[in-house]
């Protein structure tokens, strides 16, 4: 940088002085200037290089580190992620690995919140860096002291999340979680086999559906969703009434329904079940039904008219995570609108960055009422809230009794 300046001063100055005298340029003078110029170039270049570049390199490095810090390239090169099965665009992890120059990305999967909790209980709080619990479980995990408080200086992309999804009931100040995907627990059904069509929860609990489609109906293997559907059908919003006063009624309803259903299915069972038409009506999570629809175009998802469970899956960091910097970087990366849109495209789940990524998400998904239901229906849906330990005990007893009941 400084080299060229020295050359110019050394080489040009004599020429300028001589020009003033109006002498004709002789061959000797030309040679003198040329050699002087070349020598000056060499000397200047060498000097410039040796003095200038070390200075430059040092400032450049400092700038790089600052940039890296601001851009979120973490020091740690390893990250352990624990997520639901089939809950991310397969390419996103690769993108993250490349951009943030990760050496090792461990990506494990689980099938239910209970599995996640059991793993954390067994000591995985010091193994995984990022976990994806459902909203209500975030509260419980935070209570147990298993979650790390998030450093939002490292998650600037949080600004893209819609206000509707900030400060949820289970984490009022977003201390421990940021939302990832949200959805509803409605009904997935086969439009070719069900001639009456399905619009509401009566398809799960009433005649003629029960007898006509015996053993082709499934409920979910999750306590909250199955009991939630029962409460909703009976007309109660169980999140508003502490102590779950109507649990007996709901349990009776489910026991009556039990002989007609095939089983209490998990996602790995109802997705292929709907796809190969072993199951015709299923209480199911929104995005999963669309995955089944990919394989069988007769599969349709409907949000029940009387409303249903609305849940949000969140991203959290376990309290003893071994690579917290990488974890924050990953969460920030996932909150980018383009990445959110990418995930929504492949998962068919709605994301919480409504304005930002709705513009990036295809019309097909953004306009689908199953994925982004209209306002009136969302009003009737119940956003899950965490249960107290006493309520949890009541629920578990009821669930065990339901499982034990004949059917």
């Amino acid at each position: 940088m400084y080299g060229p300046k020295i050359i110019i001063i050394v080489a040009i100055k004599p020429k300028v002085i001589e020009m003033g005298e109006e002498r004709k340029l002789s061959r000797r003078e030309f040679l003198r200037v040329a050699v002087g110029g070349a020598a000056g170039l060499l000397v200047g270049g060498a000097a410039g290089y040796f003095t200038g570049s070390t200075l430059t390199r040092r400032t450049l490095e400092k700038e790089l580190e600052e940039l890296r810090g601001r851009a979120g390239l973490p020091e740690e090169k390893v990250i352990h992620i624990y997520n639901w099965c089939e809950y991310i665009h397969p390419y996103v992890v690769e993108l993250f690995k490349e951009e943030f120059e990760m050496e090792e990305v461990v990506y494990d999967i689980y099938e239910s919140n209970d599995e996640l909790r059991a793993a954390l209980e067994a000591g995985k709080t010091s193994y995984y860096d990022v976990i994806f619990p459902s909203g209500t479980y975030v509260h419980e995990l935070a209570q147990k002291g298993w979650l790390m408080e998030l450093d939002f200086k490292k998650i600037p992309n949080f600004k893209f999340v819609s206000d509707k999804f900030k400060n949820p009931p289970w984490d009022p100040e977003n201390k421990y979680s940021v939302p990832y995907m949200w959805g509803t627990t409605g009904i997935g059904w086969n439009k070719a086999k069900i001639e009456e069509g399905v619009t509401d929860l009566n398809a799960l609990f009433e005649e003629p559906y029960l007898t006509k489609y015996q053993k082709k109906i499934t409920m979910l293997n999750e306590v909250n969703d199955t009991f939630g559907a029962a409460f909703k059908y009976l007309g109660y919003n169980w999140y508003d009434e502490p102590g779950l006063p109507h649990i007996e009624e709901a349990l009776e309803l489910l026991k009556q329904q039990k002989p007609y259903i095939l089983k209490y299915a998990s996602a790995t069972e109802f997705i292929p079940g709907l796809a190969d038409e072993t199951i015709w009506i299923a209480l199911a999570w929104s995005g999963d039904v669309y995955v089944a629809r990919d394989e069988n175009e007769n599969v349709v998802y409907t949000v029940p008219e009387s409303g249903c469970n609305l849940w949000v899956d969140c991203m959290c960091i376990p309290v003893d995570a071994p690579h917290p910097d990488a974890a924050h970087a990953f969460i920030n990366f996932m909150l980018r609108p383009e990445i959110m849109a990418l995930n929504t495209e492949v998962l068919w789940y709605a994301n919480p960055e409504l304005e930002a990524s709705q513009n990036l998400v295809s019309e097909e998904i953004a306009g689908d009422p199953g994925i982004y239901p209209p306002e009136e229906i969302i009003e009737r849906c119940d956003l899950s809230r965490p249960f107290t330990p006493e309520e949890m005990e009541i629920l578990t007893e009821a669930w065990a009794e339901l499982m034990a009941a004949p059917g």
Binding site: P259, K263, M392, E393, W399, M403, A404, G407
Partner: protein, 297 residues
């Protein structure tokens, strides 16, 4: 020679102790010790955070006894385990007998290897494979339905997956090798001269089988039955994957309490009662069968 070793050499009982001590130590560390944890949990001697508390309560036991439908689940579990054991015995004995007596020396080992080969594949994968075969249009379902329809036993094709029948098929498939192996070792040791003696004394093959072969292979039958019955009665994976709503067993109940219910206390109470029950059944079974076969116990 070392005086201790001398005493061991002379006493059969001490020899037995010395031989049994390595497996005994293993059992104590990896079974008995964890079981005491389960027992302590069931008595309520551990609090919510995992700390030891000195108080004993029986409320968890009474909780689970009062659970509606607990007797149904119990009966269901015993039913499935017993039927599995009987089916394995009926299917496994001919296989073991044929390999042990009729196969030539060359092929005996290969055939027994073939019996063991399924174990090289994970148990869970094998169960998933059976799931695929038992689906409404699966290979196994079609086979079974065609045969039964032709024989006129059923009027229309029946569903196998997510039913009790499917669970039984899966259980027998998974546990059959456990029955064949002990039966094989027992039948192999049969003294052929005893069979000859029986024929010489005028008994036909059937009588020989009932009066000579069966009693002599009783140790194998006992071992095989226990190897199938005890794990089968605690099974929860096969009923969860292959079974429908009526295949909820004790194993599944304990699983629900530990996993969804986060209630390690009631779960432990159920486990303790169940373990003691299976222990009692096993002891009675051995005593009963041993008497019949002239084995001292």
């Amino acid at each position: 020679m070392n005086p201790i070793l001398e005493r061991i050499r002379r006493s059969n009982r001490l020899k037995l102790c010395a031989i049994l001590s390595p497996p005994l130590i293993f059992l104590i560390i990896f079974f008995f010790f964890p079981f005491t944890f389960v027992f302590i949990y069931s008595l309520g001697m551990v609090d919510y955070y995992g700390n030891f508390v000195f108080r004993i309560t029986l409320k968890y036991y009474s909780s689970f006894i009062q659970l509606k439908g607990i007797t149904t689940i119990f009966m269901r579990t015993i039913y499935i385990a017993t039927v599995t054991t009987v089916l394995c015995l009926i299917l496994g004995y001919p296989v073991a007998y044929t390999i042990a007596t009729k196969a030539s020396e060359r092929y005996k080992h290969t055939l027994m290897m073939l019996v063991i080969v399924p174990f090289w594949v994970s148990f869970l994968l094998r169960t998933y494979a059976i799931m695929l075969l038992l689906k409404p249009d699966g290979l196994l379902t079609n086979m079974i339905n065609t045969v039964l329809l032709k024989l006129g036993i059923i009027k229309e094709p029946m569903m196998l997956l997510y039913t009790m029948k499917g669970v039984l098929i899966g259980m027998v498939y998974d546990y059959l090798p456990f029955m064949i192996l002990p039966l094989y070792t027992s039948i192999e040791k049969l003294d052929k001269s005893l069979l000859e003696a029986s024929y010489t004394l005028g008994a036909n093959p059937i009588r020989t089988f009932i009066n000579v072969t069966l009693p002599l292979t009783l140790p194998g039958i006992i071992a095989g039955s226990l190897l199938v019955f005890v794990p089968a009665i605690g099974e929860f994976v096969i009923p969860a994957l292959l079974g429908g709503t009526e295949s909820y067993l004790i194993g599944n109940l304990i699983w629900t309490y530990f996993l969804s219910g986060r209630n390690w206390w009631i779960g432990s109470a159920i486990s303790t009662v169940f373990i003691l029950f299976v222990l009692a059944v096993t002891l009675i079974y051995i005593k009963f069968m041993a008497k019949g076969g002239g084995i001292e116990f």
